[in-house]
Assembly symmetry: D2
Homo-oligomer: 290 residues x 4
């Protein structure tokens, strides 16, 4: 078992740290709002005062942060992760950031003598709690092999994708299916409703069908039961799609379904549901159906 650090103990990071504890690892953690991580202290996580302290205390430091800015904030400065890294250590970032930002940080990490992996996940808290998370990893292969057992305690599925930055690239490429699949389901639900089938029945049948991906299993019910806090709002979904569309533009890959659903997400903002979970695409299409 290893000394593992974990920075960012929120909705995703908290339960991840718990799974590491359950697997027998010694975990040092850090959360900007310490109070929200106290429950983990009770379970045995050592809470440190700075990202630097976490990195100093750990062989492998993981991070799960909101976005590129948050990653920058914990990495830089006298109390940042970089200040606590050194030869033999590994920093594995599980956040979804841009491939460029990830590659730039991995170069900074290498300057300290440590090594970095990008290790974003596919799935939400639902997936994580169900023990069905999938982790994609970019970086040097031997570093990957060393950290793999730790990530498997979180996952369980772990796939090596290639060099630094390619895992976040793969994550961006994967996520484009999210709004596309939701939009297609909205079309199906509305066809059913307008034919006289109750919406709940239509949704139940669709979720029992072979086109119901795990992501649809947890998102489509939000159409009927919109959550107070969006799992992933329209703006965030578009931020991800923008990364994919820019990638397509620069690599010369046409992305017809991605571009289409991006425009419908823009329509969702115009329609006034931009702050809602992007399952609100249903509202837009329903607003246009006879």
């Amino acid at each position: 078992m290893a000394k593992v650090g974990f920075i960012g103990l929120g909705t995703m990071g908290g339960p991840m740290a718990q799974r590491l504890l359950d697997a027998g690892h010694e975990v040092t953690g850090y959360n900007r709002t310490r109070a929200r991580a106290e429950w983990l202290a009770h379970l045995g996580v050592e809470l440190a005062d700075s990202p630097r302290a976490v990195a100093e205390a750990s062989e492998v430091t993981l991070a799960m942060l909101r976005d590129t800015q948050a990653l920058h904030d914990v990495a830089e400065g006298p109390d940042g992760v970089l200040a606590g890294l050194g030869p033999g250590k590994v920093f594995a970032d599980m956040s979804t950031v841009s491939p460029e930002a990830s590659r730039a940080l991995s170069a900074r990490v290498a300057e300290t003598g440590a090594r970095m992996l990008d290790a974003p996940v596919s799935g939400s808290q639902v997936t994580l709690l169900a023990g069905r998370l999938s982790i994609m990893v970019g970086g040097e292969r031997d570093v990957f092999e060393r950290v793999k057992p730790i990530l498997e305690a979180i996952g369980p599925t772990v796939n090596y994708v290639g060099e630094n930055g390619l895992a976040v690239t793969m994550k961006v490429a994967t996520n484009l299916s999210l709004p596309v699949q939701v939009l297609a389901f909205c079309e199906s639900i509305l066809l059913a409703e307008k034919s006289g089938i109750a919406r709940d029945t239509a949704i139940e049948v669709l979720l029992n069908s072979v086109v119901a991906s795990p992501a649809l299993q947890y998102r489509i019910p939000l159409i009927v039961d919109p959550p107070e806090e969006p799992l992933f709002d329209v703006h965030m979904m578009q931020k991800d799609l923008k990364l994919a569309l820019e990638m397509g533009e620069s690599l010369g890959v046409p992305l017809p379904t991605t571009a289409l659903s991006n425009q419908w997400l823009t329509a969702a903002r115009g329609f006034g549901v931009g702050d809602r979970d992007f399952a609100a695409l249903y509202e837009v299409l329903a607003g246009l159906a006879g």
Copy 2:
């Protein structure tokens, strides 16, 4: 246990009849090419000489046929199913036909004193053999309740959708996600490939992700390993989409992703892969990627 008839003992119908046998039902079957159903005779299915004979021998007669024309062929004429039906009997058609054709036949069945259900399935032979098929059912609710245990032996998931014809409507509405999801996956795979990730790796990661529906699980591998016989070719996929698009037109429901993928399927035909499984959408998009 019941006396169950089964007409159409091919790729889907054969294993369905076998599951009925396994559940303890007494099964009488009919297949146009009798030789292809001999294996079922060895297992205990009574092979009859005509659809009519099947209906005469059974309380509930199921059918699983290729299309509307094939359904017409077994239903009509002196040896057809209609000639063998009568009061107290049920005919449940599991084929994917147009809602109009299904409703028209259910009226003919009612004239014999029997009742009809439309009971199409979501999934392929893979889904069926894995015991994960989902069946949607249209017709009178009490008839549905009576036949439900028999369908559960095939399914196991069985959902009541509404009156006659609504289950095939729901099936048409469900199927539109098939090409949309495949097209979006092709975009993801190409983004990954052009970024330097191996195609096999990209596919493995995608199939481990939360956007991997069961339908994608069995179809996406066909991109790398095209089957000799398509599971579902481009033409057949477009026939289904056409039903959905016509429904959208007449009900006033805009179907942006459906219309988009339909055009890419047309492009697939123009590209010379119309006779291939529609996973060949990958070829078209790859042909346009830099």
Copy 3:
């Protein structure tokens, strides 16, 4: 100068007959509602009692009717055009009907010993009155050459396209640009408006630009000033697009912009503006803009 017949003396047919008179032709006309054609009688058109009488009195009979059904009504029966045609005569149909219907009628005409041309136009009454109409013609080339001067009096532009039915095919292919161009202009107008440019200014600049086709010149002002009677309503526009989409499907030609705008026209119906001129696409897009 020739003896020319004209059946259907409405919005388009009336001014066409007038142009024939102005060119010195001797014109016999027929309109179902005779009262609406009286103004032409005052100008010198001989009004006949039936389509048959028109055909009997004329060397070349033209028709401009609403749709396939209206064409059928004037062609068939004891008082129909077919009954009045014979060797040496020509029937030129300027209506927009399906290529199949046009080809079928040309075969019926040939049985009488006469010859038929399909001669649909590009443009509206505005175009016609401005003397800028373009006519495309299908049929035998020598028949075309004979009738060309008569059509030029209406046009003035006349293009020979090929055998019977190909001119209406060309018309269907041409018309798909109508809603596509309008939809793109709506995007431009909304971008301008949301940037702080007055809508009227945006429209004026757009109509002065190189992307302003004649069709946009007369349709875009309808966004600001919706007409009581639509020039061409959403339903009619979709009827034309449907012909184009079916043609694309059967010929294997992908029609991305056509399919897209067809879905937005469906959305317009759902949005409650289906009975308006299809310039109402603006309302739909504006309803979705922030």
Copy 4:
């Protein structure tokens, strides 16, 4: 008549300067490659040694440059336009640059005591030579009124759009129709061809129809006769669309046809025709047609 300066005497700027001469203005000009402007010296243009010298000699200085970078190059530095401007002078930039860049430069110009207008045009050299150019103008209204007669000598159509930057905004919004209209025409041409109509005939009929905008009049013939030098290549077209798409994203305006044609332009690059005039969209669609 006024003392007018002109910077950038290429394909567009050269003939523009000539029109100013023809209108009786006293013109001082500058071109980076002086040799390419010698023909104008013979006609009476005074060629200066730097943008600064042009601005010093003129009441109103116009510029027509390739892009934002080229504008920056002539504006900045000891020999730049800014160094030659001062109270009472006007700088009118006719280039198509980003609204942000235009607004930023207008602030710099204001610091010198001079005033700036953004004055982009709709049309190509063909339009200019035919005397049918349309100019949209942003800036202070009284400055616009002062410069209007000079711009009308180039145009002749001149429209005031609003404050600084709004004219280039309007230009970006206008240009999105270019690839949309071309793509729709490609669909029409292919439908016609596959129906048996010769491509040349189809193009002629389309260009005679009411959907033939001036921009299509000069671009569609390039399908048959690709020019050695593209009028406007795929990359440049996408640069403009990118500005429009970003504007739509930030203003919350869905741009369905723009997003669609942008993906087809990406496909054109993947298809290997990215360096060709964007009329090459035809090649892509034809490559996918049966």
